[in-house]
């Protein structure tokens, strides 16, 4: 009994210390560089890992996820990030992929920004089927793999107006920003690797059956990392950087981060960042008084994440 109270005391002391430390860190924390400041290093492939909350309804979750996706896609275009993967464990975004496509590829420019740039979008691209991949294996045939990845691509020509003081008519330059969007869920993770395994087995069986009339026993099967990697990464290449964002907000002190089922093959060298609760003070509309409003990812949170990525050092085992 006394050890039970002793443990409760230790936990209470821990919460007090952590809260004080968090408060001090909040005060000392620098504001991140703004969006328009160039960073020394930018990820080519960014992943947004969105985490739902128990306290928001499914409609609010879907709306919040779409709004976060729309914001991050727009910021990716500003930085020239070419590939964006949006992950949520339960496949909320994959389930509303048509809305996601419209959010990302058919959004209008903010009227306040129209004097700075004009973005012309081509016709909204068709939705791809949930992708499988047919790996290029020169030695044996393999069957299609169900990777559960929805991929969309678009390119936009961004016209930037540069105002020069001595000239009457401002000059324009244009930069092409292609954005590839992958929508994935837990089905793209361990189940996809299982699907790849079944496909490899099927291919092996087909190869052997084509050369023999019956299936021999004791086949010495071997698989290389390159072969399995080419199957899995054909549908979903590894992201350079992952931002984890909790749309339900997080209680302070913040719990340790988790990956919520993200594909284990592709995350080997991915730099991981989780948004801070203080940076996510923008809330979406709530449809119900009983449910907490969703916390959208803010520009501050995104900039802080990119600042952290720019400072990361990659030694690659050396």
């Amino acid at each position: 009994m006394s050890t039970h109270w002793a443990l409760r005391f230790i936990h209470s002391l821990y919460i007090i210390i952590i809260s004080i430390t968090a408060s001090i860190q909040r005060r000392k924390r620098r504001h991140p560089h703004p969006l328009d400041v160039q960073r020394s290093k930018i990820p080519k492939h960014l992943c947004l890992n969105l985490v739902a909350s128990d306290n928001t309804s499914s409609e609010e979750t879907e709306t919040a996820f779409l709004q976060c996706l729309q914001r991050v896609a727009a910021w990716c275009r500003v930085f020239g990030i070419e590939t964006l993967t949006a992950y949520d464990r339960d496949g909320v975004l994959a389930g509303c992929s048509e809305r996601a496509r419209k959010c990302v590829f058919a959004a209008n420019e903010d009227p306040e920004d129209s004097c700075e740039s004009e973005v012309e979008y081509p016709l909204t691209p068709p939705l791809s089927e949930p992708s499988g991949s047919r790996p290029q294996s020169p030695n044996r045939e393999t069957l299609p793999v169900e990777l559960s990845v929805i991929t969309m691509e678009s390119s936009a020509r961004v016209h930037k107006r540069r105002n020069v003081a001595v000239r009457r008519r401002p000059k324009t330059t244009s930069v092409s920003t292609t954005l590839t969007l992958h929508l994935i869920s837990r089905d793209s993770a361990k189940p996809a690797i299982a699907s790849a395994s079944r496909s490899l087995l099927g291919g092996c069986v087909n190869s052997v059956m084509m050369s023999r009339t019956t299936m021999p026993s004791g086949i010495d099967y071997s698989l290389s990392i390159a072969e399995l990697g080419s199957m899995l990464e054909a549908g979903l290449p590894p992201p350079d950087f992952m931002i984890i964002h909790h749309v339900g907000g997080m209680k302070t002190p913040c719990p340790p981060l988790e990956l919520h089922g993200f594909p284990p093959w592709q995350i080997t060298l991915t730099e991981i960042h989780r948004t801070l609760p203080d940076d996510s003070r923008e809330y979406g509309p709530s449809s119900s008084k009983s449910h907490r409003t969703a916390a959208l990812i803010s520009e501050t949170a995104f900039c802080r994440a990119l600042d952290e990525y720019a400072e990361a050092r990659f030694r690659l085992g050396r």
Partner: protein, 291 residues
Amino acid sequence: MGLLALLQSPLTYMKTQLTHLLLDIIATGPVPRHIAFEMDGNRRYARRQGKEGREGHGDGFNTLLGVLQLCLRLRIKCVTIYAFAIENFNRPKEEVDSLMKLAEERLVEIAESGEMLDKYGVRLNVLGKRDLLPPNVQAAVEKAESMTRHNNSATLNVCAPYASQHEITTAVESAIREAIDAGDLDGSTITEHTLNSHLSTSLAGSPPLDIFVRTSGVKRLSGFLTWQCNEDTQIHMVDTYWPEFGLFNLVPILLEYQRKVWAEERKCSSTSQLYRTGNEKELGDRKEREW
């Protein structure tokens, strides 16, 4: 000098007793079944001390023994450490040779002295692509494993040389071979659970991974246990270099684990309460949010 030693002796004794008391109190609450450490920062620690980078590995090993003792005192069933990555063979030859020599000496030392491992009944397993190791190190590995094979209270997995993609590939290969041998030609028996059972940690009898710790402030997994830690595992990226990691880094990690377990118990308890009181609307809303 003698007076200093005399004074230090009771202080060390008191420090040890207080540490044991703290750990015993923490162990009255939920304790993780399996904790993994990516022991990063040995070289940077050594350079900060004005030494050669590779000299940090000796300090790192001493820290490992200390942390292992803390975990065993807490009755944590399984500890997995990332001792050497397959990619680490890219390091300068001098450093790789020095690491292999350290590995050979320490493996034999751990197994032969036996005090800690035998006291806590720890079985040592070395996981990874062992054929990449020099023959003398492979012999030391086999000796250390055979000397602790009879222990079954706890497990220490030493991943060396290891990479998650290699482990996953080996698991897939092994699952396919098993399906062929069983006559399952359409692969219906190959699921994520099948693959999980073919991972080296599962084959070593390790429970699911509850906590993953990486030291030195790096915010990547770098190919360590990516399958095992991708869900329901708390991940701690600690700024401290590994040789400086100790009790006061470990305690907050354990307390956070306990908070998670208690939060989940409260959630289960309130869901059961909803069933008992027949609060169908609230139950329906909660199920909708979960699924």
